[in-house]
């Protein structure tokens, strides 16, 4: 395959996967609207923080994580499981389509949705909630948040490789919602008991949120390296789990129910 044609396939695959997801109203509404509405409601309108910890600033970081997590988990977890069960992946596997084009399109789609949520959150924060950050903090926060696409997409991949298309939405929600809650994305982690805070140490969303909070000086005080090591380690674990899932069913084969 020539380089030009390869680039064209990667672009078209990403373009059409993005359109495909965009035309799924439930997906667009839930992954775009929920973080924004929740942030407006809990972070801006019901501002229950004290002056020492401005809640609208704290929650900008945590709802940013929530906004990155949703599209990555759903697009990979549900998208992959569904597309394998309908046989679309098998059909694509018989064509010369490079497998990388399919996966990079999924990452790109998650990234575009995530970036849209983060941009909208930033606009609400700056213009409606009065969040004041240094310029470097805005950029650093955006960078840290978007980097979360990597571990969360691999988590979605691991789920999608194992579950059936029909149950994928339920299983992704069973991971997505409790993990968001227990990682302190909705309610600040420091209001939880020590036990709950220790439990959160196993959750990738917790470590990602702590890195985002570090940018604005509101994290729990653990070292950056700890969060990075856990996230990188979990990314590899998710990739291995996904590879085992693919091996179990023989690549992209349709899983018969």
């Amino acid at each position: 395959m020539t380089v030009n044609r390869r680039i064209r396939v990667y672009l078209l695959e990403a373009h059409y996967q993005f359109i495909d997801v965009l035309r799924e109203p439930l997906f667009s509404i839930s992954v775009l609207a929920f973080p924004l509405v929740f942030y407006l409601f809990f972070g801006v309108i019901l501002n229950f923080g004290g002056t020492s910890m401005p809640m609208q600033t704290y929650m900008l970081a945590t709802y940013g994580v929530f906004g990155i997590l949703g599209p990555a988990l759903f697009n990979f977890g549900v998208g992959l499981a569904t597309e394998r069960d309908t046989g679309m992946l098998l059909l694509k596997q018989t064509t010369p389509m490079p497998v990388g084009a399919y996966f990079s399109a999924k990452v790109t789609t998650a990234l575009i949705f995530g970036a849209t949520v983060v941009s909208a959150l930033f606009l609400i924060a700056a213009y409606a909630a009065g969040v004041a950050l240094f310029r470097w903090q805005w950029f650093a926060l955006a960078g840290v948040l978007l980097a979360g696409v990597v571990p969360f997409c691999t988590l979605g991949l691991a789920i999608g490789a194992w579950v059936k298309g029909r149950s994928a939405v339920a299983i992704v929600n069973l991971i997505f919602l409790p993990m968001s809650m227990l990682s302190g994305l909705w309610i600040p982690i420091y209001v939880f008991s020590d036990f709950m805070q220790n439990m959160a140490l196993v959750l990738p969303a917790y470590h990602h949120a702590q890195l985002a909070l570090k940018v604005i000086g509101m994290d729990s005080g653990q070292p950056i390296l700890l969060h990075v090591i856990v996230l990188v380690g979990q990314t590899f674990i998710f990739l291995i789990v996904a590879a085992l899932g693919f091996r179990r069913v023989g690549g992209f084969s349709i899983r018969k129910s």
């Binding site: 044609r5 396939v9 059409y16 359109i19 035309r23 679309m88 059909l91 694509k92 018989t94």
Partner: protein
């Protein structure tokens, strides 16, 4: 010693040689040999579970070869040069339902070095009027015609059609047959529908329990079983007449006794004499389906 007629390598586009394939402890293919020759439509006929889809997936490189060898265009079936020159219509229920027909075709066309024009694909598959509709909103027959268009996107030298009309109504089936017949391409067609190989195939192999049990033209397959099919509603049991002269096989299907025989007149006289309440008697020519049923008849 080779007991099949041998063909020069140039005229054989794809070949399975002594291929055995297991899924766990289940034997799907048992020393299967198969050749696809340039220009022919090869029908692979067999009941569900005979191993047809396994054979096709091996020829497509979707399954790893466990035993025996598989080659397409003289190469590994998964090789990039092979993928670029073939097309496949699989037993697949969907592609992106939120994309229009045109968008799906444009995407699949982009995978190939010299694809057919989207307009040409739409017209060949008879779906010009559906091009702006979303795939997910189409009927089953319309979806299959889109899948057919995708299979032709590469302008294939070799086309795989795995049960292309399963689940379609008669009209949709005949429309797709008409479209397939207009192609001049080497093709492998798997089906359990005998009328389908009769309509489309130049040569047929019949497989059952992963083994080839017959090979020939559709009419040769038919000639495997001579005689007539006698059907009636009667109290006579199959066992009572299996030893009767000329009877090839006898069985009950629904309310009817079905007997395949080379001496239908003698049989009918005998049946009428045995049971004067006999009704609904018909005597028909043996169609491909009956030939096929006797070929795949389980040994007692």
């Amino acid at each position: 010693m080779e007991n099949q007629p041998t063909h020069s390598d140039e005229s054989v586009l794809a070949r399975l040689s002594s291929v055995t394939h297991h899924y766990g402890s289940i034997l799907a293919l048992d020393e299967l040999d198969l050749e696809v020759r340039q220009g022919e439509v090869l029908g692979v006929l067999g009941p569900n579970g005979a191993g047809k889809t396994t054979a096709i997936n091996l020829l497509l490189g979707n399954l790893r070869v466990q035993q025996g060898s598989v080659s397409v265009f003289g190469q590994d079936p998964g090789a990039m040069q092979v993928r670029e020159r073939r097309g496949a219509m699989l037993q697949v229920s969907g592609i992106s339902g939120n994309l229009t027909v045109r968008e799906n075709i444009e995407l699949f066309s982009s995978y190939y070095p010299a694809p057919l024009a989207v307009a040409k694909l739409l017209s060949t598959a008879g779906i010009e009027d559906l091009s702006e509709r979303r795939f997910g909103k189409l009927s089953g027959g319309q979806k299959q015609r889109v899948m057919f268009a995708l299979a032709l996107a590469s302008d294939p030298e070799l086309l795989f059609l795995d049960e292309p009309t399963t689940g379609l109504d008669v009209d949709a089936r005949h429309r797709l047959w008409d479209e397939i017949r207009t192609l001049e391409v080497t093709a492998v067609l798997s089906t359990h529908n005998l009328a389908e190989v009769d309509a489309l195939a130049d040569r047929v192999i019949v497989i059952h329990h992963g083994q080839r049990i017959a090979d020939g033209t559709p009419s040769e397959i038919k000639s495997h079983v001579a005689g007539r099919l006698v059907r009636c509603v009667t109290s006579t049991l199959p066992d009572e007449i299996t030893q009767f002269p000329g009877v090839i096989q006898a069985k009950v299907r629904g309310r009817h006794l079905e007997v395949q025989t080379t001496l239908p007149e003698d049989l009918v006289r005998d049946l009428l004499a045995r049971d004067e309440d006999l009704v609904d008697l018909t005597v028909e020519a043996v169609d491909l389906e009956s030939a096929f049923l006797s070929l795949t008849k389980e040994s007692p």
